[in-house]
Symmetry: C3
């Protein structure tokens, strides 16, 4: 475990050294927030979604992120994703609101069937629904219980060959064999829109510098979760102030804070 945490801290600072371009085809609600989160972890964001330029842009990218908050760009995602697959650029998918409407669920499934996804990061309802285990979603928020999500995520990862990252009160990351629980983060994050989307951005930034995507996904949630805890402690119960401090917090994160603050458990023997 100690070695994993040291590795996570290394990956975190590696992002600043490499400054990978993280290309994000994402929804219009949180573009600004996820771009700023990308900058604060040391990567460079580019948010273009136009189908005529997304594939060419991938040739400069270190990571490609799809956030399906707006389903209109599914075709752009597929075009960009095929190029990323060809070039070995990691692809991270945020299946926003899967299950909320049929066109939305269909669009997400189509992307998964046409592009090789490396990491999928969603809430328990989104992942549960896509994995076929069920779940209840209200708009884009998971509501209700999360029983069975751990097994469902593991099976889904095995079946699809990607890393599954489920965020919630307690996060789950699994590649089908290794499974980690990440207990970092803070409830106030639910009061700021896009905190889930930002965790996906951090995940894509880690994946751009760390080819063990399980480690990348765990590392992202650890670093982001600790940043959230720090910002929450500093801001009190004030969501606007918390939002501002979240950027400060992740930007200023130290190796000691990452290693000392990580709350990770393995539920099966880890090879990490």
């Amino acid at each position: 475990m100690e070695q994993l945490l040291k590795g996570i801290a290394e990956d975190f600072f590696q992002i600043r050294k490499e400054k990978p371009l993280i290309q994000q085809i994402t929804n219009f609600v949180v573009q600004n927030e996820t771009a700023n989160m990308t900058l604060c972890v040391g990567a460079l964001p580019v948010m273009v979604w136009e189908i005529e330029e997304v594939a060419e842009m991938v040739t400069h990218a270190g990571g490609l992120l799809f956030n399906v908050g707006n389903i209109t760009w599914a075709d752009s995602m597929i075009v960009a994703g095929k190029k990323a697959n060809e070039l070995g650029v990691p692809v991270v998918l945020d299946p926003v609101g899967a299950g909320a409407t049929k066109p939305r669920t269909d669009a997400i499934k189509r992307i998964i069937s046409e592009v090789k996804i490396d990491i999928i990061r969603g809430n328990s309802a989104e992942i549960g629904i896509l994995a076929g285990a069920g779940g209840k979603i209200k708009g884009v928020e998971a509501v209700g219980g999360t029983e069975g999500i751990l097994d469902a995520a593991r099976e889904y990862a095995k079946r699809e060959g990607f890393v599954v990252s489920v965020t919630g009160a307690e996060d789950i990351v699994t590649d089908g064999e290794r499974t980690a629980l990440v207990k970092n983060g803070h409830p106030i994050m639910a009061l700021v829109t896009g905190t889930g989307c930002m965790s996906t951005t951090v995940t894509a930034s880690f994946a751009a510098v760390q080819k063990d995507y399980f480690r990348a996904a765990v590392g992202a949630l650890v670093a982001y979760g600790i940043a959230g805890e720090k910002a929450a402690a500093e801001s009190g119960d004030r969501p606007g102030t918390f939002h501002t401090l979240l950027y400060d917090s992740i930007y200023g994160l130290t190796e000691e804070e990452i290693i000392g603050g990580a709350k990770v458990e393995f539920t099966v023997p880890s090879r990490a």
Copy 2:
């Protein structure tokens, strides 16, 4: 009056209990801000605008908001609005920039003619122009006097059968019979884009839990205005800081602050 204010405070906390989904087809300038405002009053936002999924999304919604900052989604609004009318979901319209261009004015009038609107919330120029009483708009801002707007709003409410909510230095809310002036708020709000749009979001959140839409519209402007005053007092003459504190302020609002801080007057005998 005391009873009305107690009712407003009840409605405010009822939003947090019910956590209604507020579906918002809105402009891209303020999506993030209005989503965060929705969360801070205790409701859940969903901001999809794609015509193929808006009607299905309404089946989960407690309120539907149209913000016509971008006229491109007029058709999506009409599709979603018809579904909302069928299901009894309250529909709140923000006629951004009515009168600024002909296509814009036409789009707004088309929405009003095809969907039963429950509350319309705009500035004095937007409402004046739509009501046929005239007004002067510069981009999306009302400029010039507001004489006659009170009578125009009352007539407009009576004619169209919706609640008219006019924000400005002094707000007017009327259902054609009851008319209230709300004197809460602060001039610094004009230095942050989307403060009008956010007041509409709060209005939709109140309407999701309070079927007396006159009371809902008054309550929203009272709560939002008091939050604005608190944030202004804490931030000094600093618009960026004010913007951040506005979320904190409405999130932390207490029953005492609402009842003690409300500045409401009735201009005709109230039945509330």
Copy 3:
């Protein structure tokens, strides 16, 4: 020089007196931020991009800004731009990501060929590439050296007949004859997305009240850069807090701060 700086301070406060409408066809990542920046310098923003209304909106505008972050609106820009040219409304272009992809570079060149641009404001890679002098861009960020950019900018300004404003560690503004270096600003600005786009917004606001576009472009970078320095000093090394304070800072700027804080040098004799 002293006279130029006094003029810049005058222009800055003239914006608040005139409150010009700054029409911005811009990308969806930074619409909110640039609208707020517009308000904080005392102008009024309007962000519509729909082709059916942009020309009519120009009839109310004091300045027109194109930010080509999303190339989809190139046609809207051309329609609005032709109207602005006809009416004498200044047109300011932000060629976001020029050189990053071919469709993007082509769209930007097409806009320049069809609309008379008054000021172009970009980073050294964007301007270098458009000027034919080369440059290296990663997404929308200039990477690598900026040798030769001063001469390239001057030649480009002369050839195209517009003012060229190149921002970076040290800014360059030239109309082909006069050339100024502006050394205001702070490195933390690179950690907030849209700080370049916001400088273009301030430029358009200055151009709306000052027909000497060289002076307008210099003034905008001076005022914005000083505001950035103040916000950086107050926020420490914290990008989220800096972002919030940037609005406060430019809103509260005084004549003394502008004149005392300006770091401008002329590289050729100035006629200003």
